[in-house]
């Protein structure tokens, strides 16, 4: 039910934002035309879902809330943080170093593999991906601090 509420609010925000962009007229729709319609549709549909879920929730007994175990939370948060870190570090540190660091973290700290397997997998994956993408497909990866 909370998710429907969030979508409802988002729809309202989008509709308001769209209306400020110049809706235009039905004969000459402006840049705000489709965003406003999309926002109104989203808010309207979410409101309907919200209402039906609220009615259904009243009719049935309250179910116990689902709680994630802390390791699941760690895996999720840790992975997302690692991915964002990849995006932030790629330019300053370059492809090779960033990939080694982030993959090493994922293999060792998230997947829980041993040091030897983690290190081997990290190095192998980094080398193979560098050969495949940079050498063969000529993707211009940032060189990092070792730029000539």
């Amino acid at each position: 039910m909370m998710s429907a509420g969030v979508w409802f609010l988002l729809g309202v925000v989008i509709a308001v934002g769209g209306s400020r962009l110049q809706f235009g007229t039905w004969e000459t729709p402006g840049p705000g035309f489709l965003p406003t319609l999309a926002g109104v549709a989203l808010a309207g549909l979410a409101g309907t879902v919200l209402f039906t879920e609220w009615r259904a929730a009243r009719a049935r007994p309250k179910a116990p809330a689902t709680v994630l175990d802390r390791w699941a939370v760690w895996r999720l948060v840790g992975t997302v943080v690692a991915l964002f870190a990849y995006g932030l570090l790629l330019m300053p540190l370059g492809f090779v170093l960033t990939t080694l660091l982030v993959l090493g973290f994922l293999f060792r700290c998230i997947a829980g593999l041993g040091w030897v397997v983690s290190l081997g997998s990290t190095v192998a994956a980094t080398v193979l991906s560098y050969v495949l993408f940079s050498v063969w497909l000529k993707v211009p990866f940032p060189p990092g601090p070792w730029r000539p």
Binding site: L10, G11, Q22, A38, G39, L42, V49
Partner: protein, 499 residues
């Protein structure tokens, strides 16, 4: 035609077709690197080749990527490109049940049949069908896209209302960036990268690929939590072949005719095919749990659509999507102008490309079927080792689009959004299709309203648009009635089998 056959069978051109097919398959398999990126990277290589050889290789990459894109959809729930999104719905579920081999094999066989039949259609129907496509104006496009949205609603596994919500949200996302008509920036918040809008590739990789990894990480890291321990035979059973035959035929016809239409025909074709198969099935409720019909039809449709997209290109010089636009660019760089006179002025190119597609399809089947075993072995890789590799490929794929880390962040953000959506019962497919088609839909709708003086009746007075709108409303009603029956069964109000 004999010129084309002899051109396509020249050793050099056979080599180019094979190279294109191999590269296209690999590109299609690699998450994030779609045919558009591959063509962009490899276009300069074609400059040193003859015009025929260059186009044959680039065309091989295009339809080879269609074959390869289904592989990642089935194995790891990451669509190689937009037209493979639908394959994830049932193909990935088949892989989780230990049936990745049959799924991959049927995808390859269906693609081969569709590609071959599509090539025959291309040869026979090019000029008249291109003329029909020209009769599509803004109201027809708007109605066609509305039909596409309603198709998605019909296909929704869960709530129809939630599917429509995601369509509305996808349309909003499609408006982010510069408005094509007024040049005004919308919802960019001063961020320069947002002026180009939300790119489809990182959005899809995030919504499907990253979110899948996050869901699996939450569940645990044991292999058996993700994939069935026992992977059964590599090829479909006789029963699976029987069940796939008609979906492949239907998908081929649907995909071919929809692929002719500009602006996403090949994407729509796979979704329409899925909706048709679900509607015709005796067990529509099982779609989304690993039905082979849900793989066979859409895979045939997207390959036939890719072939159909060549018709406007070769006969009118009209590209129907970004990938075919690059092929148009390649032709022009080689001094060849596609259009109505291509057949007369350069018959060796026109017929050479068409016959090379026959050859290419055979090569792709020979290449892909034996590789089914290799791809399936990927699933035996322990998931704790597999998921970082999947994430790495998506990171590289996002970055390689524009050599920008912005796309990486978009992908991650969409991955988190996709994870939350999955946990709360919202589907990503309607959002993605709306994102793909939103810009075309907005332009078509605005132009239609300008033409009609602000009246939506224009969608109902033009014959083609009327047919499409009736089909769209029909699908919506079917979805509503179907939902009512499900609720009725749940409440014991409708007898099971009362269809």
């Amino acid at each position: 035609m004999s010129v084309g056959l002899s051109v396509s069978l020249q050793p050099a051109n056979l080599g180019y077709a094979f190279a294109g097919a191999v590269i296209g398959t690999i590109v299609g398999v690699l998450p994030g690197l779609g045919p558009a990126a591959a063509l962009a990277l490899l276009l300069p290589i074609s400059f040193g080749m003859s015009p025929v050889g260059g186009i044959i290789m680039l065309a091989g990459i295009y339809y080879g990527a269609q074959y390869g894109g289904s592989t990642t959809s089935i194995l790891v729930n990451i669509p190689g490109e937009a037209s493979s999104i639908v394959t994830t719905l049932d193909g990935y579920q088949m892989a989780r049940r230990g049936a990745a081999g049959p799924a991959l094999a049927i995808a390859a066989i269906g693609s081969f049949i569709a590609g071959t039949v599509g090539t025959v259609g291309l040869m026979l129907l090019a000029p008249p069908l291109a003329g029909f496509a020209l009769s599509f104006g803004p109201p027809e496009y708007a109605a066609l896209i509305i039909l596409g949205f309603m198709t998605l609603t019909f296909m929704a596994q869960g709530s129809m209302l939630k599917a429509l919500m995601m369509t509305a949200f996808g349309l909003f996302l499609a408006t982010i960036g510069l408005d094509e008509v007024s040049g005004r920036s919308r919802f960019t918040f001063g961020v320069t990268e947002l002026l180009d809008g939300i790119d489809l590739v990182p959005a899809v990789m995030g919504l499907f690929g990253v979110s899948e990894v996050l869901v699996n990480l939450e569940a645990g890291l044991r292999q058996q939590d993700v994939f069935a321990q026992k992977i059964r035979g590599l090829f479909p059973s006789r029963e699976e072949f029987r069940r796939s035959a008609k979906p492949i035929m239907r998908g081929t016809v649907l995909g071919f005719f929809l692929g002719i239409l500009p602006g996403g025909g090949s994407i729509l074709s796979s979704f329409v095919s899925y909706a048709v198969e679900k509607r015709l099935s005796k067990h529509p409720e099982r779609f989304g749990t690993g039905m082979i019909e849900g793989v066979a039809g859409p895979e045939a449709a997207n390959n036939a659509g890719a072939t159909g997209a060549f018709i406007p290109l070769l006969t009118l010089g009209l590209p129907t999507n970004a990938v075919v636009a690059m092929l148009l660019g390649a032709l022009m760089i080689h001094g060849v102008e596609p259009g109505p006179l291509l057949m007369q002025k350069h018959p060796e190119i026109f017929w050479g490309v068409i016959f090379s597609m026959y050859v290419g399809n055979v090569m792709l089947l020979i290449l892909n079927l034996p590789l089914v075993g290799l791809w399936v072995r990927l699933l035996r890789v322990p998931y704790p080792i597999l998921f970082p590799l999947i994430l790495l490929f998506t990171l590289i794929g996002s970055y390689s689009l524009a050599n920008s880390t912005w796309d990486i962040h978009v992908m991650i953000a969409m991955g988190v959004v996709g994870y939350v959506m999955r946990k709360t019962g919202y589907e990503a497919a309607p959002l993605v299709v709306a994102l793909v088609l939103g810009s075309l839909f907005e332009n078509a709708l605005r132009q239609s309203l300008i033409l009609s003086g602000g009246s939506f009746s224009i969608l109902f007075v033009r014959p083609i648009a009327l047919v499409l709108m009736v089909a769209a409303i029909g699908l919506l009603l079917l979805a509503i009635i179907g939902g009512a029956r499900v609720r009725g069964r749940a409440l014991g109000l409708v007898e099971v089998g009362d269809d």
